[in-house]
């Protein structure tokens, strides 16, 4: 075989790709499910923590800041491995899927809390005072005056961070989750041909290129004029 033929046979073997397309497609579905569950739970928890933090209860805020710092500093793979291999020794077994979901949810929670919080503090103090003086309660002020403005400026950093963290779903393959990477790795070992892995890479591109492009569009759309 010539070099090119060998290359095509190894990486773009249509026969292998066709055989394992259903497996990788299942992996794609699992990746999408996992990513959606992470995004919903992570962003909601992050917002909840940021709102809690705005009440300004000292000891609680220290706890929130520490939790956020912890999950920003730890590599996601370390958290996944810790939950998956560590918890069973306490008699709490988590599936690979659950361990990956929980880990990445906590990471997204931490990063999004920090972004929401930066957004909340960016709203000038005078607006709080003005809103409170019109008779709005603390929560009404937060909900109707501060959050709408804060959320707007958090959209670009939040989008980019969310994309980066959902790409971490590939780490689930390390603990046996048959998402795109896990599925295509098994396919590669069944077929002794890396075309399945090419298929997996293509699946990621199909999934994430539109998201990355969307992120870039949002960044310009919501950009603040300096």
């Amino acid at each position: 075989m010539s070099g090119l033929e060998n290359f095509l046979f190894s990486f773009f073997n249509l026969k292998v790709m066709a055989t394992y397309l259903p497996l990788v497609a299942q992996g794609l579905a699992l990746t999408v499910l996992l990513a959606l569950l992470i995004v919903v739970a992570g962003l909601a928890l992050g917002l909840a923590l940021a709102v809690l933090r705005s009440f300004g209860i000292r000891p609680l805020n220290w706890l929130i800041i520490f939790t956020v710092d912890l999950f920003r500093a730890l590599p996601p793979l370390v958290i996944i491995v810790l939950l998956f291999f560590g918890l069973p020794t306490l008699g709490i077994g988590l599936s690979g899927f659950a361990a990956t979901w929980l880990s990445l949810t906590l990471v997204l929670m931490a990063f999004s809390e920090e972004i929401y919080w930066a957004g909340i503090t960016a709203v000038p103090k005078g607006q709080w005072e003005a809103a409170r003086s019109t008779g709005l309660s603390f929560l009404q002020t937060l909900r109707m005056v501060v959050l709408p403005q804060a959320l707007r400026i958090t959209i670009p950093p939040l989008t980019n961070r969310t994309i980066a963290i959902t790409k971490g779903t590939a780490l689930g393959s390390v603990v046996g989750v048959a998402e795109i990477l896990g599925a295509s790795q098994s396919a590669m070992s069944f077929s002794a041909n890396p075309s399945a892995l090419t298929l997996g890479a293509i699946a990621y591109l199909v999934l994430f290129i539109p998201v990355v492009a969307l992120g870039r569009w949002i960044e310009t759309r919501f950009a603040w004029k300096r």
Partner: protein
């Protein structure tokens, strides 16, 4: 509680696993010292191509950046490590990590720096050129210093992500901190080494997280 301590914070096990955990820690530092500059070089190249190159090259650099931002780094790493040998090209674990990080983190640094260069008003280049500076001099002395300052929080935050990302090298069996902790866990049937590794990562990276948090708050408040 005792169960918890024996399973997660077992001093005896930490003592036993200490030498290999320490080795792993040093390996992680070395890995970071190599991958961060590698990614930055890739990023500077991409940022320059995507802002100063001719139209076709600019477009290609943007597409390249999006491509490697869309592929999860672990997928890239597995592809380089386990896929390439099928084509007779065995780059080894080190080669796979070096190439993978150059491509992946280079794309991220490139995107950050591109935004930084874009934030420097065009008139500054024109002013610099009119004083007699060459294009390269204007870039090096006028544009890049301001560009880097404008996106400093993002650059530092990206660097934190790169250091954290070195943990995926454990998948291709490079003996960095997570890999060594897994080995120790397998040998002792105890999760303590992984907890110890997590604590080590936290102690190493916490100062950086604090710094980023401060820089980001300042940037957001300044808008």
């Amino acid at each position: 509680m005792d169960d918890f301590l024996t399973a997660f914070l077992n001093v005896e096990i930490v003592r036993e696993a200490w030498p290999i955990l320490w080795q792993g820690f040093l390996y992680t530092l070395a890995l970071s010292a190599i991958t961060v500059p590698l990614g930055m070089v890739g990023g500077v190249i991409l940022a320059l191509l995507s802002t100063a190159g001719p139209r076709g090259i600019r477009w290609a650099a943007a597409a390249w950046t999006d491509l490697f931002r869309a592929i999860p780094p672990l997928v890239l790493l597995v592809f380089l490590y386990a896929g390439l040998p099928f084509a007779g090209l065995d780059v080894g674990a080190w080669g796979a990590v070096a190439i993978g990080f150059f491509l992946n983190t280079g794309a991220y640094y490139g995107e950050v720096l591109r935004a930084g260069i874009g934030s420097v008003p065009r008139g500054q280049v024109e002013a610099a050129r009119s004083t007699g500076l060459s294009q390269a001099q204007a870039l090096a002395h006028v544009v890049l210093p301001q560009a880097v300052r404008n996106v400093l929080p993002d650059l530092v935050s990206n660097t934190l992500e790169v250091v954290k990302l070195t943990s995926i090298a454990s998948v291709v069996a490079l003996p960095e901190l997570l890999f060594q902790a897994r080995q120790a866990q397998n040998a002792t049937y105890n999760a303590t080494p992984i907890v110890a590794a997590a604590i080590a990562y936290f102690l190493l990276l916490w100062p950086l997280v604090r710094l980023i948090s401060r820089l980001e708050n300042k940037a957001m408040a300044g808008r």
